[in-house]
Symmetry: C3
């Protein structure tokens, strides 16, 4: 496992701060929480914000009504707020309809959600496409509720409004683009949400720092309905232009590195990610497309088939904190975010550097007269120039740099200076494509 | 291992009764034993009986003379029938020429066959293409023979007649057909013979019960010369129409499940059989085409190349009772036959249901508004609809149902109701082919 | 592991004698040592000798000046030859420039080469493309050198001359050829040099003994610059004609068998070598193209891509004696050479016999009426003719004999008489190609 660099760790701390700033906002599929989130991100990268009206048909779906919530709580007999949305967004079932009434404990129980086997966690529960209201709480608290009357208040509204998403385009030399997608619809969860947008934001800042070969498109959307909405508007141009894509999620804890392939596998995104992970984090966990559960479900669906993979830290559904209040800013750390950021940045760097190479002369070139070979032939001579000769051996116009690195079993980054030197010596040329 | 259902067990008992009825008949490459066998099967399925005259050229072979035998025995000095064809067909070398003479023990020995390492078994010995007579007996009995004169009688005849086989065609919606072949030339052996025709007969009955997508052709032939004869007459239409085929042999014992692939592997028959066996009997033994030994030798021969495999219980040559009198109706059981029948029927059902599927909309459809998704989004939501979403994910017009089941690692039968529901909802459509 | 035959062992002894005759000559990239070597080989095979002038451009390289050396030594204060080229060619750095001067021990040390971890070995050191002089000695001797003045003499010359190589063409029925390359530039090393040319020479003698299907071209060249020179003159015709090639090196010790594939693998040469090694020496070591280090570096380079592999005993760089005076005629043995010779000859024999076969009739032929099948059908009948039936089963016009042998998991040599018999019976025919 490659250690995280000091620069990356600084980035990790900055990302963690940004996550902390975004954490209290109540994001959902729609609503002002999303808008506020995007506004904060705009202080870092020049996002464009798009609004798609409720009722718009997007593929098989319809944009739902916009949901906004001001307050929600449950009062006990003493008028105490025993469940309070202001303490934690997760206390309210997302998309809860307005309610203001007094109920018995028995009636209340039908609207409560808790996790018996995680008694301290508040679960994350949604009811996006069915009218419903409810409260979530720790199982420990729930078991302490006593008989009596409770006042339940959800001060929300479901209105015709719009679905909001952000889009960042960083133009490069080519119209061909790398596509990054992350979601901003889960309130107050750190790994399975905020780690994605903060890493995406910092990658965007890094990408904008110098001219790039590819264009980069980063979208900040609500999961599922957002990717479907985006695809319904742009699937043709995405299919025409996207060379590789990454779904950014669960990038901030310290436990593991994980990979989820595209549906068919073997795309440029799969190849770049596997190459980087194999050398940088050889212990990474390789999931199957059957384990999918985020927006690759849309990006890789039949007929869409974009080359999109996920490179993650601990994968959603695989860590116990998933979809509960335990997925917080203690679970997600600066070093965790730094690691997630670094591996994605390495993937992007590899894509930028990935060309099909072709040796310019038949047979091995005479490296010695170019100062590239040790003067004296000894038992050890060969080893010293092995990487260079191996690059030349596989530079046959059929292997790109990823394939050369894979064939050589050495990290691609180890080959960057070699390729540069060989190109400078005109012993190697990159195919124009 | 999937338990055998009650219905299948009833079928197993009926098949075992039929096998018992057929067991005493003296079947061989040709002759009245074959005709009587087919006549009994006609009480179950509407077989057509074909006769091909002796001397007919079939590929590289010639239909031999017809062999019929009325009686055969060896008498000792006391006139006792010490070896008696009427006790067991196997006592006579198949296709023995007529003989009626007195011989010394020494002369007799040259015409006796027994198995030293299976002293209680009567071996099955044939001399189809060389004129010869002989008797088979247990080695235990042979070692007890005393010096003296023996009268040997084989009351047989080899005459110009014909080779007889049965054919059952069950027309389906399509001219494309599933081809089932089984052999009826081994006298009084239960697994390595009768299990094949009785399972084929009961499959035929089950197939005829309702309209089918494919046509089904079942042939009851002598092994080798029979399949060569059938191919020599029908190879062109078989190559044009057969989508999958099964050689039915060794389907009745309780010990194992076995698979023998087609020569090239990967045909629809291979894929269906492996899919069913993998889930239903994951402990099945997977043989190589190098282990072949029945009519797939002809069906898969170069230039013929039909998609024919064998799904068996204990494979011929792999069980010690093979080709001896120990391969009897105690070794073959109702439950053994039921298991062989059920696995073949499952293969056929999978073929009937196997279509290339295509999702009708881009992206995942909104299952919720069709009542196909749980109203409430919780940690567990995804798992409940995982199979449905996986089917949709692989329904890309390139995967048939077998491929979808293989990719999902779930039994195809688990997908039948899902596919039906998705087709009913018009979220999935089957390719016309 | 297949035992070496008596005939092969006799050949091994004769090869060892030839190696002993060649051992003292001072071969290098160029010079009279090479010419004398080729002259001795011409007593065995009708080599043509080619001279390519110094300064000739060959691909990216230039033929260097010719190096000849008469004598070289280091004298101590007492005028004793403490390092003497006449004792061992390796004492002088190859391509050392002339020198004749007195130096202190300190000055001398800068021109000495020894191996600390192999204190008794004289290393092999070269300075082909940089002007330099030096002496090589055992580390044990080096540590015993005392302060004082030393006279160093290298009586060599670097002049415009030529690079010399030998070529043997054995025409066969076809213009398509098998290409054998070996090198003659390492002075006084037995496995990593002389084993190659002596095995090549004896293969040449064996090949010339009877008419062959393919033409055979054997070249004796200096490594690297020699193969580049040869390719620069003949790459087009080689690419057009060569069906398989072998780089002959390290073929004479007793420790191991080794295989180094072509760059892409799967060529006819790879397939033949792997087939032979798998059955003859199943314990062989299978290297990767990344482990290459001889003239396959040129023959398999991008754009050249000849089907060239190396079948070796202990591979260069993998045995401790490599590139030192310990790689001598005790390390290389008659039995070692016999084994190297035999495995190459078996590869060649397989290439000669390797045709795509096609069964002439549909279905299995009736072997019995041709005397190819046991008269009596018993439990064992099938096994006796299994190989014959398997050959017929894979003779589908898509498998060559190597592929048939591979599919059957039996040595190809076991199939030679079967194929001959089936061809004689007109049951099998070889494709014209």
């Amino acid at each position: 496992m490659t250690a995280v660099s000091r620069d990356d760790l600084l980035a990790g701390e900055a990302m963690h701060e940004l996550a902390a700033e975004l954490f209290p906002l109540c994001r959902s599929l729609t609503g002002d929480g999303v808008r506020e989130t995007l506004k904060i991100l705009q202080q870092h990268v020049p996002l464009t914000v798009h609004e798609v009206p409720s009722g718009t048909k997007v593929f098989d779906w319809t944009i739902p009504r916009e949901w906004n919530i001001r307050d929600a709580y449950v009062l006990n007999d003493q008028g105490e707020r025993i469940i309070d949305f202001r303490e934690n967004n997760l206390h309210v079932v997302a998309y809860s309809t307005p309610v203001n009434q007094t109920v018995t404990l028995r009636e209340l129980q039908e609207h409560l959600y808790s996790l018996e086997n995680q008694p301290d966690a508040i679960p994350y529960v949604t009811s996006f496409y069915e009218e419903h209201w409810g409260f979530c709480l720790s199982h420990r608290q729930r078991t302490q509720l006593r008989e009596g009357n409770y006042r339940v208040v959800v001060d929300s509204e479901l209105t015709n409004g719009s679905l909001t998403y952000g889009e960042l385009l960083i133009p490069g030399a080519s119209r061909r683009e790398v596509f990054l997608s992350t979601y901003i619809c889960h309130p107050s969860m750190a790994n399975n949400e905020l780690s994605g947008p903060v890493v995406a934001t910092f990658l965007g800042k890094w990408l904008a720092r110098e001219p790039r070969r590819f264009s980069y498109r980063v979208i900040f959307i609500p999961e599922t309905i957002g990717s479907i909405t985006y695809l319904s508007r742009h699937v043709k141009t995405l299919k025409a232009n996207v060379v590789a894509g990454f779904n950014l999620t669960c990038m901030g804890d310290d436990r593991a590195y994980s990979f989820l392939p595209s549906r068919k596998g073997g795309t440029l995104a799969d190849r770049a990610a596997l190459n980087i992970l194999t050398h940088r984090h050889p212990e990474f966990i390789r999931y199957s497309y059957l384990d999918r559960g985020s927006d690759e479900r849309q990006y890789c669906s039949p007929g869409v088939d974009l080359p999109v993979v996920s490179v993650m830290r601990s994968k959603y559904r695989e860590f116990p904190e998933y979809h509960t209040s335990l997925d917080d800013l203690a679970f997600v750390t600066p070093s965790g975010l730094a690691g997630g950021y670094a591996v994605l940045r390495d993937c992007v760097e590899l894509l930028e550097r990935n060309h099909v190479y072709r040796a310019t002369c038949l047979g091995e070139p005479q490296l010695g007269r170019r100062g590239l070979y040790p003067m004296l032939g000894t038992k050890e001579s060969h080893r010293q120039v092995k990487d260079m000769l191996d690059v030349l051996a596989f530079a046959d116009g059929a292997h790109d740099l990823i394939a050369i690195s894979d064939a050589m079993h050495v990290p691609a980054s180890q080959l960057y200076p070699i390729v540069d030197r060989l190109v400078a010596e005109r012993l190697l040329e990159a195919d124009p494509a």
